[in-house]
């Protein structure tokens, strides 16, 4: 019974937490954009405009829901749901801290430690494309269809380098479980470098982060919703909370991706050169590890914002070219090098 309760608490807790981050991210995005662009950004609702997401939420929830007359109703309605559901469920295998010992019971800070966590993330992540393409198709709008088409091609293409980059990580750590990988990143190697994925897989890290940006439809890969070309892409016809689901889904995706990056390449909850777990009590270490993890996640979330307001956008064929002619050969090369290295050293 306890296990069930703990599981439910973990599920609900992390769901609320991720949603909260996503909501705050909408504020960070706009505020960050403002500051980068020499303007204040939203600063009216509440202190520093912090209630802006709340106001947006109220607006999105209370707006009239309009289904375009010629839209295909079922697809139109199911699209946003299909987009946001995988986004939320993908976080299930990403850890968010080390572990907490409560009443002699060890609770790992992860919803579920699946030993094929990678595959789960890849599988669930690629579900999101259905939400995009069905929404785009169901809207019966040419811009939406174009956006849907773009996203399909792009997301499907970038699954490949993403998977290949992950494969190299699996080679290094010999496991599919994100928790095991996280645990393995403690300490140093070669005497001075932290035992983090980024130092063991520098090329893999770059490949992964580029592919992840493309998966998340973020600048410079935001073609499916390139507003200067195809208005809003696949969600042109959406309004009210359906649009809200798309928008929040995107930010939840960002959280998941950032969490994955941190867990794989950035040492998860470990700090370099120091093992705080040895000095702190079990409960406080659990909380501290959680904080360390999410500080790192916050950095990557900010990176998403930062990059977005720095770079121009790719063109459709260039995205495809980069994916198939740039990233995939590099990823294969990376696998080859990794395998060779492991073969030679072990």
């Amino acid at each position: 019974m306890d296990d069930w309760l703990i599981a439910i608490i973990k599920v609900v807790g992390i769901w609320v937490w991720v949603l909260l981050i996503a909501v705050v991210m909408t504020w960070v995005e706009r505020r960050g954009a403002g500051l980068i662009q020499d303007r204040p950004g939203p600063n009216r609702a509440g202190p520093w405009g912090l209630f802006q997401p709340l106001a947006d939420g109220i607006k999105l929830f209370t707006k009239e829901e309009i289904i375009p007359t010629k839209a295909q109703k079922f697809l139109y309605i199911i699209g946003p749901a299909l987009f946001s559901l995988p986004a939320f469920s993908a976080y299930a295998v990403v850890p968010f801290g080390d572990k907490i010992i409560l009443g002699g019971k060890e609770i790992i800070l992860q919803v579920s430690d699946v030993n094929i966590g990678f595959l789960y993330i890849l599988a669930i992540g690629s579900m999101a494309v259905y939400g995009v393409i069905l929404g785009g198709w169901g809207s019966t709008n040419k811009y939406s269809i174009l956006g849907g088409l773009r996203s399909t091609a792009q997301m499907v293409s970038y699954e490949v380098p993403l998977g290949l980059a992950l494969l190299a990580v699996v080679f290094v750590y010999g496991t599919f479980s994100l928790r095991d990988i996280s645990l393995a990143q403690q300490g140093t190697f070669l005497g001075f470098l932290p035992n983090w994925g980024i130092f063991k897989q520098p090329l893999g890290f770059i490949l992964f982060i580029v592919a992840a940006y493309a998966e998340a439809n973020r600048v410079p890969f935001d073609l499916p919703e390139a507003e200067s070309e195809i208005v809003s892409g696949y969600h042109t016809e959406y309004g009210s909370m359906r649009l809200g689901l798309y928008l929040f889904g995107e930010y939840v995706n960002l959280v998941t991706i950032s969490g994955t990056i941190v867990a794989l390449y950035f040492g998860s909850w470990h700090l370099p050169y120091i093992d705080l777990g040895a000095y702190l009590g079990p409960i406080s270490w659990g909380i501290v590890s959680f904080c360390i993890f999410f500080l790192k996640v916050a950095f990557f979330l900010w990176l998403f914002v930062w990059v977005r307001w720095t770079l121009p956008r790719f063109r459709y064929d260039q995205v495809m070219g980069l994916g198939w002619r740039g990233l995939i050969p590099l990823a294969l090369f990376n696998i080859f090098i990794t395998a060779l290295f492991i073969q030679l050293t072990v």
Binding site: D38, R39, P40, T310
Partner: protein, 240 residues
Amino acid sequence: MAKPVVKKEYTLKERIYLWEILKGMKLTWGHFWYNFKACWRPGPHTIPTCWQYPEDRTREISPIFRGEHYLQRDDKGREVCIACGMCAKICPAKCITVKKGKRKEGEEDKYAAKTYPASFEIDLLRCIFCGFCEDTCPKNAIVLGREFELARFTKEECILDKRKLLLNYRKAKEEGKLKPPKKPVPVVPAPPKPEKAGGGETKKSKAPAAGKATKRPVVKVKNTEQAEGSENKKAAEKEK
């Protein structure tokens, strides 16, 4: 109409994407950090390029700004306008209507001149704020003030009648926002002529005619040529 094919020659730094991207990110970070620090300054006007408009009104409006109109009074508080109708005539948008009234006896402390505007209406919905009325006014009576908040709720409010125009004047005076008198623009002096050319600025002076006189024959020649041309053409057509 084949389009030229452009060869792309990239240097290595450009080719690998990341170098320039990182440079750009450094730049945007610089802006972010600067503005982030500026955000903590007290007061509404934190980031130097942005005014938090309704609260922060410290931005200086040019004293010669062309905003909402007012009708001027002189030092004795009399209306200066003589209802000559020049402003209504010059207005490109035709937004001014003036009705002339004759000053009766005993109204000398109300109106400065013998005639005064019985009604003076400016349709703000039509006005394009070009400032020609102000330019052309012989008495400097109509002035485009510094007031720039022109939004109204009804169409009727957008029509400025004389009362509102004079109220605008009072408001501007109280706020010290009266327009400074315009500096006269120096005009090319008239070429020396036997006749006196002084004060010929407003009247149709002879001076420009000096310039024109040389040109006129050209034009005349042209006209005759044109006429001839058409005749020639007629002849040609007849032949055809």
